[in-house]
Subunit: 201 residues, 2 copies
């Protein structure tokens, strides 16, 4: 079965590849700032849905399309990528020692003979407990540029891994795509993980 | 500061590299089957300690040596790598849908002018909740060979990622080396993560 990831995220692509799957990739071009929702968990689902629908609508043939979107929730706010070095530093000073929740929305659409049909929306949420990096550690981390490129200003699988003391939930969901959730969504449609295109070895 | 990983594990090396550190690597040659301890958590610490001590004793110059060892605890037993395809399949049939604990022992030794000096022993434990793969999914997974190469017969960052529903604790500890714990051990010795040799970019 063809499988298309409707996301530009290198973390999501790496997650699928490490798990043995080689997806096609097509970016939706959805204007993410134009969409709103009452809570962070609903917002990521609205965005994932919009991305998957936009990409599925222009496909030919038969395939599965997956859209995803991730945000970090802290104090009720949905935090995407920080806009500047100063914002990344300020965020880390307010995040350290605390627990936040990383939400990822997932929308899976089955396209049959160029027609989008069955569709599933699911959100996974993972608690993230941050370490207490010093001001110097924060400055050195932000100086690497990594926090500016990612939702929530941290990674768990990159340079930020030193500063995440623990998580509760699916690790891959923090990176941006929950593998166990995708497995269950595939099963709901009657597919197995092994039906997806295998990563060349 | 020179930094030497006393382990042959590709997962540990990858964990350090993804976090920006390029360690030297030297395998201890310790006979792991000759060591015993009353609990899985104590056993991984005894093994990590033995590996680090053996490697530190033969170093010249000044450097930090890290030894690690990992086991999965289920029903009070310490599970390392499965010995056969049949054992890997049987293990997965007993693990699915259940929660186990992945323990990793860490020993950090400071070698100054070719003399091992300060030493720290720390164990990190992460709860792992397994999904419920079908018999067919288990057979396909074991057929990839991956479960035979790893402690506990699963990975969370490889093909096994589909079958780990959630964890509670540090993700990297499941792979075999807790980055936030190593950061705190370095701080105890007065070092920062940025004192370690950087991964070439």
């Amino acid at each position: 079965m063809r499988f298309l990831l409707a996301s530009a995220s290198s973390g999501r692509l790496r997650t699928l590849r490490q798990a043995g799957v080689e997806p096609e990739v097509e970016v939706s071009g959805v204007d993410e700032d134009a969409l709103v929702a009452p809570t962070p968990a609903e917002l990521v689902q609205v965005l994932a849905h919009a991305k998957a629908v936009a990409v599925a609508a222009r496909q030919q043939g038969t395939l599965l399309v997956l859209g995803c979107d991730s945000m970090l929730e802290l104090d009720g706010f949905a935090l995407g990528k920080p806009g500047s070095v100063e914002e990344a530093i300020a965020r880390w000073k307010s995040m350290r020692g605390r627990t936040a929740v990383l939400h990822t929305g997932h929308t899976l659409i089955e396209v049959l003979d160029s027609s989008p049909g069955r569709m599933l929306d699911r959100v996974a949420s993972t608690e993230v407990r941050f370490a207490e990096p010093s001001d110097d550690e924060i400055a050195a981390y932000v100086d690497t540029g990594e926090p500016l490129r990612v939702a929530g200003a941290f990674t768990v699988d990159g340079l930020g891994g030193w500063f995440v003391d623990s998580i509760a939930g699916d690790h891959h969901n923090v990176v941006g795509l929950s593998l166990p959730l995708l497995r269950r969504m595939l099963l709901d449609f009657g597919y197995a993980v092994t039906d997806l295109p295998a990563q060349p070895t």
